[in-house]
Amino acid sequence: MTVEAAPTQSFAHTGKLFNVLGLAFKNAALNILTLTLYRFWARTAMRRRLWSRASVMGDPLEYTGTASELFRGFLIALPTFFLPAILIFYIAPLFMDPTTAFWLAAGFYLIAIPLIAAARYWMRRYQLSRTRWRGIKLGLAGSAGAFAWASFGWQILQTLSLGWYTPVARMNRAKMMWENARFGDQPFEFIDDGEPPQRGLWLPFALGWFAFPIAYFGGIILVIMIVAGMAGAGVAFPTSEEFTPGVIIGIGVGAILLMLLLVLLLWAPYNAAAMNRIASLISLDGARFQLKAKTFPLFFISLAGWIITILSLGLLAPVGGYLQVRYVLNRLEIIGTPKFAEIGQSIVADSEAGESLGDAFDLDMGVGVI
């Protein structure tokens, strides 16, 4: 007799902030003690904890990756990435003619674009292959090289279009990733619902695209209003002598922070819309997904993550990642039920190289990119 749990919610994340914070502090302390070499163990422990608190139909996800796998990936990246980088950035400028050194560095940056995309793909392959639900593995088939070169092409189109190709590129990337994703032997699908995948993204994207000039001028106007208000109230700035360097730096830093805040806020509708749209196009064995991400909660979650990351000098970045994972999972629903009894164990080959370049490029916030 098969038994299906009777879920009240298809997806849920029950992680508690203080529980995650405690582990993050422990990891931070050991990272400092080991000059960050502990980061592979820290990342593994954090993923294990976050995965175990994520439940699907009442049963938890399980992270089965090990720190030694990540460390092995790092050791693979040493000769293949770090040594060439050291040669290009340290040795070449000092001991080669400037033109050669310049072109070496330029070539490195150029190659880094598809390499970062490939690294992201490898990283996701590793993470999916180390994720299980009810003992069944997830996986990622397909070629990282194909994804890398396609991403490179989309990046060029994004550049040529001054960014306006971004919504299409984002959906293309999502399509390629999800069409190659597997749960056991069952592939996910990125369905065609008769509408362009980027439907509904243009307006929020336009808001984000204009975010910088809006934030720039908005920030200036707000600063002027604040200064004028203070002067009007007789609080400060009656004379130019009171514009000490400290005051000017304070106003400058405040204005920049304000601008960053506005940019983050104005990009939030696009990010929420894109996440919701991608979720709505994913299908597993006929079951569909629905995400109800909202602009303001997503903005505050992102803001909290950035503040925690910056104030902790990156040491507590996983807490920011946790907030996002929890937010998404608690707003994700499944419509319909896949025939789980017919979904067998994964036949996709496991990733053997850890996350190698993913670590080199710092592609996650110490949590994961699933």
Binding site: W41, S52, R53, P60, E62, Y90, P245, L313
Partner: protein, 393 residues
């Protein structure tokens, strides 16, 4: 909550019952029985306190224990309730990582600096020039060329040459002083044995011996190859940060910045060494070290008055060791009654160069006897390296 079993072949669970013997967990699923030795089990719990067991190596099978069975398991196999059973690393791992990290740090941050001197001595002139070109291009980004400083530069170079001759500095023919327009008082040596002096430093000096003391210090850095040693130390530290921290994040930023001229720092030992050797030059050339002492004292006073981090103190003066101690060391070598190192007429020319006198009001020209040692004749000037005879870019 009942015990459930997933067979690892399909994404469903089955009702199961568990029995706990001395060394084996017996799992019954319908008519099928599985025997799992405790030694082969690991935990894969959820965050809600439910015990989930899996086998090692992983077969995909999972046993979701009920609360009752969890308690029985704890009695039967207490080892499964230790952190290690959940994959938490042991103390030996942390100790090993700590030892490895600090050993690497010792190799790069202690070993490389120790080897910096012999390595610096082996850098061929061609590479030294190449590194100097990079330094000059960086100097060009934050300074401007002075088109009215030739005469002042000649005066300073004559004075420096006289000082180096008195101390028999071997590379005295290679040292060349360039005056630049920069918004801060500073003097620094470059890998090609050039010394860059900013107009603000010249304006800040109230007596020629103060400026001469600073130049003597920079010549000592050149004579003892501190510049190349500093670069090698920085590159070693950069590579260390790059390897250990990894990634394109903070570690790599530190790493890349380490080859930047602005981030280069002499070690405390190098600074002390340059201080002492610089005072030797002054002694040998008959120049009063009291000027340098006064400069140190004045900067110490300014540093005390300024907000932390807002210092306009030259790099040479803001480095370790403490300025108080350096002032005292210079004061101890001071000799009264010596002529200023640059004549009043020449000092006026130096102060007026590159708009230096405009930086702040020029003090009354220094009064005193003519220099005790005549300046070098035009027939024996220091050679002008082509890259510094013109605009340093």
């Amino acid at each position: 909550m009942q015990t459930r079993y997933a067979d690892g072949r399909a994404a469903v669970t089955h009702d199961a019952s568990a029995e706990f013997t001395a060394d084996t967990l017996q799992v019954s699923v319908g008519e099928t029985r599985h025997a799992w030795p405790y030694a082969e089990l690991h935990r894969a719990d959820d965050g809600a306190g439910r015990v989930i067991l899996k086998r090692k190596p992983d077969t995909g099978e999972r046993l979701y224990l009920s609360e009752y069975d969890s308690t029985r398991l704890q009695d039967a196999a207490p080892a499964l309730f230790k952190p290690r059973a959940s994959g938490v690393e042991g103390r030996a791992t942390v100790a090993g990582l700590t030892a490895a990290a600090w050993s690497l740090a010792a190799v790069f941050l202690l070993g490389v600096p120790m080897a910096a001197e012999p390595i610096a001595g082996q850098v061929p002139p061609r590479y030294r020039e190449q590194i100097a070109d990079i330094s000059w291009s960086q100097v060009g980004t934050f300074t401007d060329y002075c088109d009215d400083s030739d005469e002042a530069a000649r005066i300073l170079n004559d004075m420096a040459y006289r000082m180096m001759t008195a101390s028999n500095v071997e590379m005295r023919d290679e040292v060349w002083i360039t005056i630049v327009d920069a918004p801060f008082p500073n003097a620094f040596a470059l890998p090609d044995n050039s010394i860059v002096v900013t107009d603000d430093l010249m304006a800040l000096a109230e007596h020629p011996d103060e400026l001469t003391g600073v130049i003597a210090h920079e010549i000592a850095h050149i004579e003892h190859n501190h510049v190349m040693k500093g670069i090698i130390r920085s590159v070693g530290a950069g590579i260390f940060f790059d390897i250990v921290f990894g990634g394109a994040g903070a570690g790599q930023m530190v790493a890349i910045a380490s080859v930047n001229l602005a981030s280069l720092r002499y070690s405390r030992g190098d600074e002390t060494d340059a201080d002492l050797r610089g005072l030797d030059y002054l002694d040998a050339a008959g120049i009063d070290a009291g000027g340098l002492a006064r400069l140190f004292e004045r900067f110490q006073e300014e540093a005390d008055e300024e907000a932390p981090g807002a210092s306009s103190i030259p790099t040479m003066l803001s480095s370790h060791p403490a300025t108080d101690a350096r002032a005292a060391a210079a004061r101890a070598r001071s000799r009264q009654g010596l002529a200023p190192s640059i004549s009043p007429a020449d000092w006026q020319i130096v102060r007026a160069a590159c708009g230096a006198a405009m930086v702040e009001d020029v003090e009354t020209p220094v009064e005193g006897p003519a220099p005790t040692t005549p300046p070098t004749t035009p027939s024996a000037p220091a050679p002008i390296p082509p890259e510094v005879a013109t605009k340093p870019e």
